[in-house]
């Protein structure tokens, strides 16, 4: 199984993702430049965090039109696994691969902290090593993670189990106090209807080794490999 990490000008978590895949999981991985137009030969694409194109206009708005994006959209539409983390999630929203939009955090602060997440769906290629209802701890680092979707879209997300992670307290209660950014329904991560494109604001690549203070992120990447192996 081969991973591709897409590097936009202004990406800053690309090397961390690359490190987790190559060193922690021991899987083949390449960087893919935003100016490339091909993604063939890869089984999972990761859009990493950062500030692509300076996040000018809106987060992810310009990156969404990068030369590599038509190939990423084709890849996603034909069932390829795509993981968007933080800015990567914002790009997936702008590209229309996931529904909704990001607003500035309601607190107006850039929030950089560990958050508790409740796993809402453990049947995805990205979460199969977790258990539904499990509380995991993964750090966030963003100023615009205030997820928004209209009522109808939210209902649809609920009905199709597309909400994958919600911010919660340590006991797993989804409370207003546990919400770091004002996101509707405490949503921290969603998956598309087909179940192959995940977007999440928290950074699993930042907690994939004991020495970094947590390993929940390792389980997320390991889930992808597990899903791939089982599928064969």
């Amino acid at each position: 199984m081969k991973f591709g990490v897409i590097v936009f000008p202004g990406s800053n978590c690309d090397q961390d993702v690359y490190h987790v895949i190559s060193e922690v999981l021991g899987k083949p991985v390449d960087y893919l430049w935003h100016g490339d137009t091909e993604v063939s030969g890869y089984d999972c694409l990761v859009l990493p965090g950062g500030f692509s194109y300076g996040d000018y206009l809106r987060s992810g708005a310009i990156a969404r039109f990068a030369p590599i994006m038509p190939a990423v959209i084709d890849f996603a539409n034909s069932g390829g696994l795509v993981l968007g983390i933080c800015n990567g999630f914002q790009i997936l929203l702008e590209a229309g691969l996931l529904p909704g939009a990001m607003r500035r955090n309601d607190c107006l602060q850039f929030r950089c902290q560990y958050t508790n997440l409740r796993v809402e769906n453990d049947e995805t290629p990205f979460t199969n090593l977790f258990k539904k209802g499990q509380v995991i701890s993964i750090p966030i680092a963003h100023g615009e993670g205030n997820y928004y979707a209209d009522e109808d879209t939210l209902k649809e997300l609920e009905a199709n189990k597309q909400i994958v992670f919600r911010y919660c307290d340590p006991s797993g209660e989804v409370t207003k106090e546990a919400n770091p950014n004002g996101s509707v329904g405490n949503i921290a991560g969603i998956i598309n209807r087909q179940g192959n494109v995940l977007g999440m604001m928290p950074h699993p690549e930042r907690c994939a080794e004991v020495i970094l203070g947590g390993t929940a992120g390792r389980e997320l990447f390991a889930s992808i490999v597990e899903w791939w192996e089982r599928r064969k």
Partner: protein, 83 residues
């Protein structure tokens, strides 16, 4: 040459934390009449054409595709002749 003046604003009902903070600032300064503030974006585009209907079509397309996010924002624009 045409000049497009584009205003991108949040849709009504979409929370605007930035506008709220600005509004609270104004109130703290003593401007008690301010009941609501919404922050938006203003863009100017110079267009190398004199064809207004063509420009209108293109500006609208640019707004829909990039300049505004239709999920949370709306836009309006004017076109002016420029020498």
């Amino acid at each position: 040459m045409l000049l497009a003046k584009i205003y991108v604003t949040l849709k009504p009902g979409v929370l605007d934390p930035q506008g709220e903070a600005v509004g609270n600032g104004l109130k703290a300064m003593g401007y008690k009449d301010v009941t609501s503030v919404r922050v938006g974006k203003y863009l100017e585009l110079q267009l190398d054409t004199d064809d207004k209907s063509y420009a209108e079509e293109k500006v609208d397309e640019m707004c829909r595709r990039l300049l505004a996010n239709p999920v949370i924002e709306k836009y309006r624009y004017t076109l002016e002749e420029q020498r």
